[in-house]
Symmetry: C2
Subunit: 352 residues, 2 copies
């Protein structure tokens, strides 16, 4: 296949020149900042892109689920950090099996998770467990530096486990608060005679301000590899830095102001991330994707010069690109010579 217009729509098209630039730029930025790079693969879910990130200098990768890590280990990725509280006999058994074939680390924010991990790992090589810290995001994580110390001690005392450091997913624009929190926790842990070699933070939205958290040693960014509308809106990237577009076809023009496209929530998802509309059309910036049903997108053309006819193709930058990768069995890569290659999204749908 030689042209994006040959693709049956809806489809995700990935411009590999932009991907390569995004990987190189971010790796170079983190190198200069003295931070290890451990990209989150949830954005692409493609083993060969994880390999590219490692070839560019990443020390390893981040996964959210055991089943994602299994897919990545299958292609020989050697160093995987799973940033999730792992519970349940089946998942723990899978985690243990996985630990036989790569360097693995995980997180915990409570004793129940620590106890479960210890039960499974007490017989062999120690598993590195980082303490997840809620530095303001309000999701998982211990609630104070003192709690981080307590859990670090519990990890070090648990058979089969080793305290691996601190991990946080910061809320945007809270770098001062994050540094205060992590700095205090690191000090408390050091004063207790425990080593804390890794302090892992993350998130593409915070990337440019990473230097404001000098306690950090490692950065987990995911979305930077493709970028998306939410990052354009934050000023974290330009339209030209967005590597993945959803290719759609205009299937109906019921009225002068309404166009219907064949990309609905089954491709773009309902994620708004605080914005209005369900994606951005660079070729028609005034047009607004005002509603989605599963297979239809409703575009309001009011105020736009775009006046498509039925059958016209349109490229959309999605609000949130990570979730789009999860909707499609395959994606199409546009290589630097213009040719198109189709790849299965190997780690799609890995919720376990």
């Amino acid at each position: 296949m030689t042209s994006p217009t040959d693709l049956e729509t809806p489809a995700a098209l990935i411009d590999m020149r932009i991907v390569d630039l995004n990987i190189a730029r971010t790796q170079s930025f983190l190198d200069k900042a003295g931070l290890a790079s451990r990209p989150h693969i949830k954005t692409h879910k493609l083993p060969f892109l994880a390999q590219k990130q490692i070839e560019a200098g990443a020390t390893g990768i981040t996964c959210q689920k055991v089943s994602e890590a299994e897919v990545m280990a299958d292609v020989g990725i050697e160093d995987i950090f799973i940033t999730y509280n792992i519970l349940g006999e089946q998942k723990l058994a899978r985690l243990h099996a996985l630990s036989q074939r790569c360097k693995l680390s995980v997180v915990a924010d409570n004793r129940t998770v620590v106890d479960g991990l210890s039960r499974v790992f007490s017989g062999g090589v120690s598993l590195d467990v980082l303490v997840e810290c809620d530095t303001g995001h309000g999701r998982c994580g211990v609630q104070s530096p003192g709690d981080a110390l307590t859990l670090a001690q519990a990890i070090n005392e648990a058979p089969g486990l080793r305290f691996g450091g601190l991990m946080t997913y910061p809320a945007p624009d809270t770098m001062n608060q994050v540094e205060t929190w992590l700095g205090q926790a690191k000090n408390l842990i050091g004063e207790a005679g425990i080593g804390c070699s890794v302090v892992s933070m993350g998130g593409t939205p915070n990337l440019e301000r990473a230097a404001e958290v000098p306690s950090a040693t490692e950065y987990r960014a995911g979305t930077y590899i493709y970028n998306d509308r939410s990052l354009i809106e934050r000023g974290a990237c330009r339209i030209a830095d967005c590597a993945l577009t959803v290719q759609a076809t205009v299937v109906s023009r019921p009225t002068a102001e309404r166009a219907i496209i064949d990309a609905g929530s089954k491709v773009l998802t309902s994620d708004l991330l605080g914005m209005e509309g369900y994606g951005f059309i660079p070729a028609a910036p005034e047009a607004s994707i005002v509603a989605l049903s599963e297979e239809h997108g409703t575009v309001n053309l009011n105020g736009s010069n775009w006046n498509p006819i039925i059958g016209d193709r349109v490229a959309i930058i999605p609000n949130h690109v990570c979730v789009v990768s999860n909707m499609l069995d395959e994606v199409h890569l546009q290589l630097s010579d213009g040719t198109i290659e189709t790849h299965p999204v190997a780690a799609r749908g890995c919720v376990l």
Copy 2:
């Protein structure tokens, strides 16, 4: 596997007793109303449930995409209506191939679609094409009864095509308007000497008011087979009528008022359908799923008596059940004897 608590979470669990009741109740209702039943398979995406619906009396099924219809034809479903404007050479070729192995009908709301269909079908047996009518929903569809007549004539004049009737997806609570619209179109088409044997309407939210559209001959309902929170909120079903629940595990209890579950937008999706919160927890009706990230659900326990410990299981009725079916590679059926059977979601991700 003998118990839902053996399921690795997150997972979709389907109570087959409720499914059977929902199918029987809806078929009986439509039989009494004198309406043919043509269930939309987008809700379950499972061939064996389509077969069950036909065994219960449905005349055929509805699909939104050619690729969904292919999956259903693979198990011998004989009568398939694709309610989508089909465009593009690849899709038209697939549609033509599909027409060799089942009774197929499609819709059109414009001349471009009619011309494309005619180009592919002009050589053989005629394809039934219904005119999609925008009776107030504001998505696809011709805009007036006069436009419906014009397109019906164009279909009948197009080689290889035959006008098959009218199709609409009504907006909720607009039955009067829908009947006026369809009645006028039917009259105009009749006066022009064209037969209009099928008038197809749909939507579980409108089901109980189907009799208010006497022009209709056929009903396409989808969600009724599982039901969901949006239908509870509309008063269209009871909690006990909801067949699919998302099974999740509490993975973190960062604070007294916050629980984190392992069902995020990768299972529940971000669909709100006008409601607050991302699902309903029958065992803790005052608890609210206030935020989702991809793999985490944040539950606010403020005002709830539910005080789960880490590792506790919880069942969630999703806001919108059709989209949940699309997120998972497999679902688990709880049979009437309590045993669990796992089925692949064969028509998941069929966006083409």
